[in-house]
Symmetry: none
Subunit: 221 residues, 4 copies
DNA sequence: CATGAATGAGGCTTCATTCAT
DNA sequence: TATGAATGAAGCCTCATTCAT
């Protein structure tokens, strides 16, 4: 938890701090991420970081909960009952996830790292919850749809959930690899992330959904 | 590139060196991996490392090419022409990949890290080639199958390739997460990695192939 | 010297400040004692300390003179002329010293530290005066008693003074080590430091006086 | 425990290291003592210290056991059975203690600090054993003499032991305060610590023993 | 070839002190 | 008068790398 000093901080400074810290922790291991680099980039004294946070781990934990909250704000805005069927709903979830990724590339990158790339022992106790939660939630969704007869039941549920989770995660890297979306540059060049690419993104999402749908729908004998 | 000193080394020592070094670099960032820990574990002098390799990066590069070669040896052993159709072929490729993962958990873990988790600036120039190669190869396969009419053509090729690549990669983590295969423990307890689990593994591979197949086959209108 | 700001401070705040600061400096080296901990404990702003005192050294000096004054107030209350002979007088001095130690454990601890345990270069110039004063005063007493024929003259005066001073100082640690008096706990549990232990303390003082007396009285041939 | 690196070190370097480290830890709290100052004084790299010792605490522990061993070597050289009576024996013990103090002023100062002045929490678990051992040993001696009728029995044994221990400890400070023995200067100016002062020291020891003897002998009614 | 002591840059963290509000 | 954010020096410790033996 940040100290009061950070909470009371001028919002602009606070935001700038988070931005730079997030960049550092998004690009590096917990171990490798460097407070020194952060303060150098910010042009502040090293001591200041410790006015704001207990220690490096405290900072990391705050970044984590910050990003999770941002992501949550995206997720909760999509509600199952607003969609006629599961797949249109799920398409919206994907698209929303993409919005999150594109509008908060650092957050996205950081969370991905937390979920999959992090191996520093210091943060071990705080990992994984995200991945587990994700597959748990998907399992519930899938089970519900199986009850409706819209998802196949001839394969183990965990495999289906794993499958969907993996594909969902890969969307951002898909964008990056295939469509060459350069999150950073977009962000740096002034924010209107959507525009040119939007169409392509929507199309890509639709395409992936097509794949998922085909994979998961009840199979004819 | 290793120095001659390493090449000329007693093969047993050489193997032990690689084993320990691999373990270290499989478990940690390039930055975080520690030469100190390696020599401590090996019980050799620190200077020896620098008799064998130029520096940390040189060691890393050797590990990378070593693991890639090991992996390649698995892959090339499966030949398209030995299988009646693409999917049985691909199932064999998967299974082979799993064999590689299970018999060389450190290699597998290291390559996974190199491909997805590594972000230390020192190795930045050497990343990614693997991922690119993988999708390129898959693209070629898929295109061939599309020509045969066994894979759908209504979605962009890169998306299909990405899809397959991602799913292929996730097999190991699937094993780990769902079937609770504990590579490390298996390894520690004396190597017969296959046995009890084998059935389950084969089943999981078959299940994933089912998913892929359903997703990728030409869709009826 | 405290600044006016401290002098003008609400007496209650002032007392609380001294109490906490004393606790810190009683438990630690000058160097190790931490202004940060003091303000944290007090719940005041760090800047306040520098409104009250020039710097850490200034605070330390004030604590020192404060404790010395408290101690002096105990000492001067025992007057030679109120006692029939030197040893009953000295017993009263001892007992008074013990009262001081027990009623002002922090002061006592701090002064002991200042006199014997402190070695931070910053305070070096201000040390020792207390010890010197003590032995000087004792030397005067002893000389007077020697004139009366009640203290031996066959040993050098400085040795006798040193002997008495050392023994006097050790009373508190004797209490602590042998009688297990836990100053801090007594203090924490509500102050009635005297009571059960009082008898034992008086006895211990009497015993030590017996030793001193036997040691110092003129020796028969 | 020092690492092998230190044990294998050139004896001259090793000695010089111990000398400087001991000086630092003799003059300061564990907390306050500075590795930085040590390496600056030695003109070696900071990292070297950590080639020799695990950490600051490890270094401190080695210094402690080193000094204790040095001191032990002095103590065991005086054997009770070589002396006709307790007091001549004890005089020899004192004198020997003084020899130790004078020939190893740093050791002596360090041990004194460890026994009485140290309050850093890091070393708390390792303190006190010395003081306790000392009084325990004295208690045994005293009890034996009481059985012989040479030491008074009208006062509690712990008080007698405490008394002797305290006086024994004070010998060095007595030398310093009263005879102005400047350990450091003697040491710096070329080692023959004994010579001029020797007579005075012997006399002082004899005087103190006189005091102890008078204090402790069975008292006439 | 192997050794292992030496190096010094760099990392995290603490702390007294300053100063604008 | 009080506040508390900002500072930067200094402390401990780790690590890759060098080099004389």
């Amino acid at each position: 938890m940040p100290k009061e000093t950070f909470i009371n901080l001028d919002p602009q400074k606070q935001a700038r701090f988070l931005e730079v810290a997030l960049e550092e922790f998004a690009n590096s291991d917990f171990q490798t991420a460097s407070i020194t680099r952060i303060v150098k980039e910010l042009g502040i004294a090293k001591g200041s970081v410790y006015q704001y946070f207990e220690d490096k781990l405290d900072l990391w934990l705050h970044l984590k909960s910050h990003c999770e909250q941002v992501k949550r704000s995206y997720i909760v805005s999509v509600r199952r009952e607003d969609y006629p069927d599961f797949w249109t709903y799920y398409e919206a979830v994907y698209a929303n996830g993409l919005h999150f990724d594109l509008e908060n590339p650092r957050c996205s990158q950081f969370l991905y790292r937390v979920g999959f790339k992090e191996s520093s022992p210091q943060v071990q106790p705080y990992l994984n919850s995200w991945k587990d939660q994700g597959t748990a939630m998907l399992s519930r969704w899938i089970a519900a749809e199986q009850a409706n007869g819209t998802i196949r039941t001839d394969l183990p549920l965990p495999i289906l959930a794993h499958f969907m989770f993996t594909m969902g995660l890969s969307v951002a890297s898909l964008m990056h690899d295939i469509y060459g979306v350069d999150f950073d540059r977009n962000l740096a060049e002034g924010k209107p992330l959507f525009g040119l690419e939007n169409e392509a993104l929507q199309a890509a999402v639709r395409d992936l959904i097509q794949l998922l749908k085909a994979a998961l729908k009840p199979q004819a004998l």
